[in-house]
C-alpha cells in the first residue's frame, strides 16, 4: 500500500492515473461505440436488434453490398477530392496567412484574430450562410462574380454536377481556415528568430529560408495540422445537408455523408456502419503520419 502511495507521489503511478483517467473515459465513450460499429458492419441489423450486440452474423456481406452499390466509386472519388481539396486549400491558405501575419506591421495580431472567427461558428450556421451565398438565381456569390466580369451566365453552384462538390469545398475551406492558421501561427512563432537572421547574413533569399528553416522546423506542427485536418474533414457533416444534400445525383456525396444517409435516411444501419469502418483506413493512415511526425519534436 505504501509502495503504491509512494509511486503515486513520485513515480509512474501518478502518470498512470493521469493518463488512465482520460484513456478510460475515451475508451468508454469513443472506444465502445467504435467497437459497436465494427461489430455491426459484420452483422445483419434491423429495428428490433438495433439495441443489442448479438445479431445474426453476416460475414463480409455488408462490405460486398456497399462496394456493389452503383454510387460506390463515385463516392470514393468525391471523398478523395473533397479531402484533398479541402485540406490543400485550408493548409496552403492557412500557411500563407500565418506567414503573412507573422510579419511586423501595425494591427497584425488584431486582424489575425478576426480570421479566427470561423472557429467559433457552428457548422450549422456556416452551412446556412453559405447555402444562401451560393444560391444560383439570387446568390450574392454569382452577383459578385458577374460584376467582376468573371462569369457571364449564372452558375448553379449547388445544382450543377461540376460544381456541387466544390461549393462544399469552398465552404469547408472557409470553415477550417481558422484552425489551420492558428496552429501554423503557433508553430511559426516557436522558430527562433536568430536562425533567420543567420540565414539572411549568409545570403539566403526568402524562398530558401522558407525551404531550409521554416519547413523543417515546423515538421511536427505540420504533422499535427494535417492529421487533425484530415480527421476534421472526414467528419465534416453539417455543411452537406445545408448545401447540397449530396446531390445532384450523388455528385457531392462523400463517405461521411453517405454513411449518415445509409443509417438515417435509408435506415440501413449495417451498411452505414460498414462505410464508416471503411473510412477508418484513411484515418489510420493519418494517425500514423501524425505519430511519426512527433518523432522530430524538440523539447524546449
Amino acid at each position: 500500500m505504501s509502495r503504491f502511495l509512494g509511486s503515486l507521489r513520485d513515480g509512474i503511478g501518478f502518470d498512470l492515473i493521469l493518463v488512465g483517467a482520460a484513456m478510460l473515459f475515451l475508451l468508454a465513450l469513443a472506444g465502445l461505440p467504435l467497437v459497436y460499429n465494427v461489430l455491426m458492419s459484420f452483422q445483419q441489423v434491423d429495428m428490433f436488434t438495433l439495441g443489442s450486440l448479438l445479431r445474426p452474423f453476416a460475414g463480409f456481406a455488408n462490405y460486398v453490398a456497399v462496394v456493389a452499390q452503383p454510387e460506390f466509386w463515385l463516392v470514393t472519388k468525391n471523398t478523395l477530392i473533397f479531402v484533398f481539396a479541402s485540406m490543400a486549400g485550408q493548409f496552403v491558405i492557412g500557411f500563407a496567412l500565418a506567414i503573412f501575419f507573422a510579419q511586423n506591421f501595425p494591427g497584425a495580431s488584431t486582424i489575425r484574430g478576426l480570421f479566427l472567427v470561423s472557429w467559433v461558428m457552428p457548422g450549422l450556421v456556416v452551412g446556412a450562410i453559405w447555402s444562401w451565398i451560393l444560391a444560383g438565381d439570387f446568390g450574392v456569390f454569382n452577383a459578385i462574380l458577374k460584376s467582376l466580369g468573371l462569369i457571364q451566365a449564372t452558375v448553379f453552384w449547388k445544382s450543377d454536377p461540376n460544381f456541387a462538390l466544390w461549393s462544399v469545398v469552398i465552404a469547408n475551406i472557409w470553415l477550417g481556415l481558422a484552425f489551420n492558421m492558428l496552429l501554423l501561427s503557433v508553430g511559426l512563432a516557436a522558430i527562433p528568430r536568430d536562425l533567420y537572421e543567420a540565414a539572411e547574413l549568409d545570403g539566403a533569399n526568402a524562398f530558401q529560408r522558407f525551404w531550409t528553416i521554416t519547413l523543417p522546423m515546423m515538421r511536427s506542427t505540420i504533422g499535427a495540422v494535417l492529421s487533425l485536418g484530415l480527421i476534421g474533414t472526414l467528419q465534416q457533416f453539417d455543411l452537406f445537408p445545408a448545401l447540397t444534400e449530396g446531390g445532384p445525383a450523388n455528385t457531392s456525396t462523400v463517405a461521411g455523408y453517405w454513411a449518415w444517409q445509409m443509417s438515417f435516411q435509408l435506415y440501413d444501419f449495417a451498411k452505414g456502419a460498414t462505410i464508416s469502418v471503411m473510412m477508418f483506413v484513411l484515418v489510420l493512415f493519418a494517425s500514423v503520419v501524425y505519430v511519426r511526425s512527433t518523432r522530430h519534436e524538440v523539447r524546449g
Binding site: 484574430g113 457552428p122 456556416v126 487533425l228 454513411a259 484515418v283 494517425s287
Partner: protein
C-alpha cells in the same frame, strides 16, 4: 532595407483580406435585416433598403432563445470542465516521455476520434439508455461531446507542455518536491496560458454541439441553440431573415467574447508566454 511604407501596405492588404474573409458574416447580418421579398431579389442588394431590426426581438421571444442559449452555455461549460480536467493530465504525461508506449497512446487518442458523431450516436444512445443516463440528457450530451473534443485538446495542450523546460521540473524534484507537487506548483502554472486558451477554444467549439444534443435531448426546454436553429431549417422554412437573425443572435455573443479575448488567445498560443 525595409522602407517605411511597407508596413502600411501590409496593413492595407491585411484589411482587404479580412474583408473578403468576413464577408459571409457580413452577409448574415445584412440578410437578417432584409424584408422577405428583398431577400429573393436578383441581383441581391448589398445594403437592405429598409433595415428592419424588429426581427431580432421577435425571433428572440418566439424561439425562446434565452432558454436555448442558456442550455448551450451549460453544455459547453460541462464539456470544457471534463475536457480540461481529464485532458490536461493526459497531455502532460504524453509530453513528458518519449517511448513506444507514448506513441501508442497518441495513436489511440487519434483513432478513437475517427468516427463521425453521426455514426457514434446510435451506440451511445443505446449505452446511455442502459445506464439510465437518458434521464439526465444534458449530462449525457456533455459526456459524449467531451469525448469528441478531448483528442484535439490533448494534442494542443501537449504541444504547450512540450515547451515547458524540463529542467525546471527536474530542479523542483531535486529540491525535494514530489512529482505531484512539481506538477501542480511548477508545470501547471507555466503551461497555464496554453491550457486556458485551449479551454476557451474547446468551450467555443462545443457551444455549437449539434448531433448529440438533437438525438439525446428530447425536452425542448433542455435543448441547446443549435437544435433550436435546426428546427427552423426544416423542409418548410424559408424564413431566411429570421434564420439569419437567429444565427446572428447565436454567434454574436461568442464572436464578441472572442474578439475581446483574441489578443490573449493568439498570444497565449503563439508567443507561448512560456519562455
Amino acid at each position: 532595407m525595409t522602407r517605411p511604407y511597407v508596413p502600411w501596405l501590409l496593413l492595407g492588404l491585411a484589411l482587404a483580406l479580412a474583408a473578403v474573409y468576413l464577408f459571409p458574416l457580413y452577409w448574415m447580418y445584412v440578410t437578417s435585416l432584409k424584408s422577405g421579398s428583398e431577400i429573393f431579389a436578383n441581383p441581391p442588394t448589398f445594403w437592405p433598403m429598409a433595415p428592419d431590426p424588429s426581427v431580432y426581438p421577435a425571433v428572440w421571444t418566439r424561439r425562446t432563445m434565452g432558454t436555448f442559449l442558456w442550455n448551450s452555455v451549460v453544455i459547453a461549460s460541462g464539456v470544457t470542465a471534463i475536457t480540461v480536467i481529464l485532458g490536461t493530465g493526459c497531455a502532460y504525461v504524453l509530453a513528458r516521455y518519449r517511448s513506444a508506449w507514448i506513441d501508442f497512446g497518441l495513436f489511440l487518442i487519434l483513432m478513437l476520434q475517427v468516427l463521425p458523431a453521426s455514426v457514434m450516436i446510435t451506440p451511445l444512445f443505446v449505452g446511455f439508455n442502459q445506464m439510465g443516463l437518458l434521464n439526465y440528457p444534458r449530462t449525457a450530451v456533455v459526456l459524449a461531446a467531451a469525448a469528441k473534443s478531448m483528442p484535439f485538446f490533448v494534442v494542443l495542450v501537449r504541444a504547450t507542455f512540450m515547451s515547458v523546460p524540463r529542467e525546471l521540473e527536474e530542479a523542483a524534484l531535486v529540491d525535494g518536491n514530489s512529482r505531484v507537487g512539481a506538477f501542480f506548483s511548477i508545470v501547471l502554472p507555466l503551461a497555464r496560458n496554453g491550457i486556458l486558451v485551449c479551454a476557451i477554444l474547446t468551450f467555443m467549439s462545443s457551444f455549437g454541439e449539434y448531433i448529440y444534443s438533437k438525438s439525446i435531448i428530447q425536452d425542448t426546454a433542455l435543448q441547446p441553440a443549435s437544435v433550436g436553429l435546426s428546427g427552423f431549417l426544416g423542409p418548410n422554412s424559408t424564413d431566411w431573415n429570421s434564420i439569419m437573425a437567429y444565427s446572428a443572435i447565436y454567434v454574436t455573443p461568442i464572436l464578441a467574447v472572442f474578439v475581446l479575448l483574441q489578443r490573449r488567445i493568439v498570444s497565449g498560443l503563439t508567443s507561448g508566454a512560456l519562455k
